[in-house]
Amino acid sequence: MTDNSFSKEDLQTCYDLYFDAIRNYVFFKVKDVALAEDIVQETFIKLWKKRTTIRKETVKSLLYTIANNTVINHFNHMKVVRNHEGQVIAAGGGQHNQSPQFVLEEKEFEVKLNTIINNIPEGSREVFLMNRIEQMKYTEIAERLNLSVKAVEKRMSKALVIIRENLGKKL
């Protein structure tokens, strides 16, 4: 292994720095804390296995990519398992029936908030929540997810349209 290789200390540094961000990102996608934690664990193990090909400048967005793929793989697998069991499911990531148990003071509004956020498709939801909960600017989100700012804007627009429709419906 070469001198500029990715050491175990580097892995730990990455873990310390990005654990919370990746955990939240995965949670926004899968809406289940325990599952999100499993996926984070797998993500860092996969990062370690890729260590010979890592460039340190891009490790942050690589982590997001790995996390995203791990989520997709998980749901592909779930789909096969559930189809086999003969259950009716909406295929794919984040579409299972669990609602995110966000914590908020105002109980009444909370239900509505969660319902509406649940109606936003995964790609837009993760971006929306990264902006809202993690207070990330569009450029930051784009950088993390290796997307263009325009793509982030597009996803946010979709989220906004859905929120507006849903707010109108219930008011």
Partner: protein, 311 residues
């Protein structure tokens, strides 16, 4: 519609939007957006330290475990394939788990490889595939292990055996295609006769002749007929699908071009695709599938997003 979102983009980005006129409806929106930023991600099930412990436990056994990784599942194998490429020879020869020395051929994304076997048989390996067999002539025995996809042209002779995680393919002298991708095991016979047996010994084996295909998925076996010309045609750059989830074609594109796919709506992935794509350049391949399926795509660096046109 454009304007309604534009002013919010500024607002959400923390830019000053004081000149904007906000209507009552906007106030409700703003209220919602403010409340959303007060949300908190629920507390941990496992602590950060606990998870770190699990990670270090997992990676502590390297590199000996690297070889075992392949057996855990194809997904892990893909992640590890780059790593394996570098250490494959070493790991396989040093591993105490393996009694015999193996020759391994590992093909990564974008690549194809032709392997000539000791008996003169020929294997064309597709991207992201792994083939291994005993190094010594006594143990070779015309037996090999396969993960991924390969097309075999076998010289006539003793029984030739391909082991996969789902079952075994036995032939005398013929040409056939074997594919193990995700949870689907498919064998197509181009010439001669092929016997497919499954991991579960109670499941009867299937005999295939020219132009027959057997697909094993979701614990069920399906037989169908395939145009012999299409079998193994992927090696010439044409990938055929006969009523398969479009995800299989997209997964193939990921392997052929080394890109990442995202679905705007996950239900797209399971729609059935009947047709083919050429491997020329990424846009040609993507549009061949998307045009047929009423989908559209956007390419951003290594990430391709698939969207439904109807939305």
């Amino acid at each position: 519609m454009e304007q309604f979102e534009d002013k919010y983009h500024q607002y959400l980005n923390g830019e000053d939007a004081h000149e904007t006129e906000w209507s009552d409806e906007d106030k409700a929106m703003q209220d919602f957006l403010e409340q959303a930023s007060q949300l908190k991600v629920p507390g941990a099930v496992k602590s950060k330290a606990e998870i770190w412990q699990s990670i270090t436990d997992e990676i502590a056994d390297e590199p000996a475990k690297e070889v075992k990784t392949i057996q855990w599942g194809w997904i892990c194998a893909i992640a590890a394939s780059v790593m394996l490429l570098l250490v494959a020879g070493m790991a396989f020869f040093n591993s105490t788990d393996n009694q015999q020395e193996l020759i391994s051929h590992i093909v990564g994304e974008q690549a194809l490889e032709v392997v000539a076997l000791p008996d003169g048989s020929c294997v064309s390996m597709n991207s992201v595939s792994l083939l291994s067999y005993a190094k010594s002539d006594e143990q070779w025995n015309r037996t090999l292990d396969l993960k991924g996809e390969a097309f075999f042209q076998v010289k006539k002779g003793e029984t030739f055996t391909v082991n996969t995680e789902f079952g075994t393919v036995k032939v005398l002298g013929t040409s056939f295609n074997v594919s193990t991708r995700n949870d689907v095991f498919a064998v197509s016979c181009k010439t001669g006769r092929v016997e497919v047996s499954f991991k579960d010994p109670s499941r009867p084996s299937e005999m295939l002749t020219k132009g027959q295909t057997v697909v094993f998925e979701k614990n069920e076996v399906q037989r169908k007929l395939t145009d012999t010309e299409k079998i193994g045609q992927w090696y010439e750059g044409t990938f055929h699908y006969e009523g398969r989830p479009v995800m299989e074609a997209f997964n193939e594109i990921e392997r052929q071009y080394d890109i990442e796919l995202e679905y705007e709506d996950k239900t797209i992935a399971s729609r059935l695709f009947e047709g083919y794509f050429y491997k020329e350049d990424l846009n040609t391949s993507l549009s061949m599938i998307c045009d047929a399926m009423g989908l559209s795509y956007t390419v951003e660096g290594r990430v391709v997003t698939i969207e439904s046109n109807s939305k």
